[in-house]
């Protein structure tokens, strides 16, 4: 019996099939890198909780109205100015910081501000309060949050560059975060980042929106 000629599979269409598959995956791929402004909400206060009394000078009050206009400490301000206002406020260092674990607070040694009597005492006492209207647009709200965060980042970068000692000296806070993203188990690095964060802790509060 004559063996059949070993007929080859027609591979000409292979390329077409691969190509179709490629296009299919190209179309269905959603490269959504989910990124955003992360915030930690404050815990729910217990019932009949009395808020602590905070000196007005330690609060930077920002109001947004329903026309997306902004008041900072009762003066009309523009988005472009708010970062500098926040930096001046946070970095003022006019008094002593808050008590931590029974150790009385000390004056802010790393602040470059004006040390004005009328502005905040210490970065760890300085609170930024954002009050928006229910009708304020989300875009405006995020813009303000973003500017405030960038004020913190700038201060932290400066602190990290000038005051961190040891092997991470001279690096900015952004650099440290990048390093940490690649090296999650590094305890030294974590401690340094924590130190920088505590130098300028983010205290942004969202007040109940006006109706």
């Amino acid at each position: 019996m004559a063996r059949r000629e070993n007929s080859e599979i027609n591979a000409g269409s292979m390329a077409d099939i691969a190509f179709l598959l490629l296009i299919f995956f190209l179309v269905t791929t959603t490269m959504d890198v989910d990124s955003g402004i992360s915030r930690k909400l404050s815990e729910k206060p217990p019932e009949n909780y009395e808020p602590p009394i905070i000196k007005m000078k330690n609060i930077l009050e920002i109001n947004l109205n329903r026309n997306d206009e902004m008041l900072v400490e009762d003066e009309i301000s523009q988005i472009a100015d708010i970062k500098q206002i926040a930096i001046d406020f946070l970095d003022n260092g006019g008094g002593v910081g808050k008590e931590i674990d029974g150790v009385p607070g000390t004056a802010c040694t790393y602040c470059n501000g004006n040390k004005s009597e009328k502005s905040s005492d210490h970065p760890n006492k300085a609170i930024i309060s954002v009050q928006s209207d229910r009708g304020t647009s989300y875009g405006m709200y995020i813009t303000v949050q973003n500017e405030l965060l960038s004020a913190y980042t700038e201060l932290r970068n400066r602190y990290a560059k000038n005051h961190v000692k040891g092997k991470y000296a001279g690096k900015s806070y952004d650099d440290l975060l990048l390093l940490s993203a690649n090296d999650k188990e590094n305890e030294d690095l974590k401690a340094v980042i924590k130190e920088v964060k505590e130098a300028y802790p983010q205290i942004i509060s969202d007040a109940e929106p006006t109706k």
């Binding site: 995956f25 990124s35 009708g135 989300y138 709200y141 995020i142």
Partner: protein, 134 residues
């Protein structure tokens, strides 16, 4: 090569949007969300079918439009899918349209606070912030 690359990176979109795809605000201070499985997403925007749902800001949980009161049970059901020790790391990502109102976002925030889901990420694209208020 390309084929394999796309095959590996493809993630199928799990939820069908019933609101108009939100135009996310731009921001520069963005943080990437890690551990996608620990993220629950809440969409806020206008409904596609406005004749049926009305024209205000709507909240989408999973694949349908829900009310503020449903958020608690949504978050609980998300938390149930994970080990108890992972729950504190769970993040709620709010994907909201730039034109939504802060009132809606605040209502969501209050709901999340009441059930102690405190990690929130306001989803943004990285870009020029001046586009947000146009």
């Amino acid at each position: 090569m390309l084929l394999f690359f796309f095959m590996v990176t493809t993630t199928m979109r799990e939820t069908e949007l019933v609101i108009k795809a939100p135009q996310l605000p731009n921001a520069t201070e963005v943080k990437k969300l890690e551990h996608k499985s620990l993220v629950s997403t809440i969409y806020v925007g206008k409904a596609k079918d406005q004749a049926k749902f009305g024209s205000g800001d709507k909240i989408q949980l999973n694949d349908k439009i829900a009310s503020i009161n449903d958020i608690a049970s949504f978050i609980y059901s998300e938390q149930e899918k994970h080990n108890p020790e992972e729950v504190p790391y769970m993040t709620t990502s709010i994907k909201s349209d730039v034109k939504a109102s802060v009132g809606t976002i605040h209502d969501i925030r209050i709901e999340l606070r009441d059930i102690n889901a405190l990690k929130v990420s306001y989803s943004t694209r990285s870009g020029d912030i001046s586009l947000n208020t146009k």
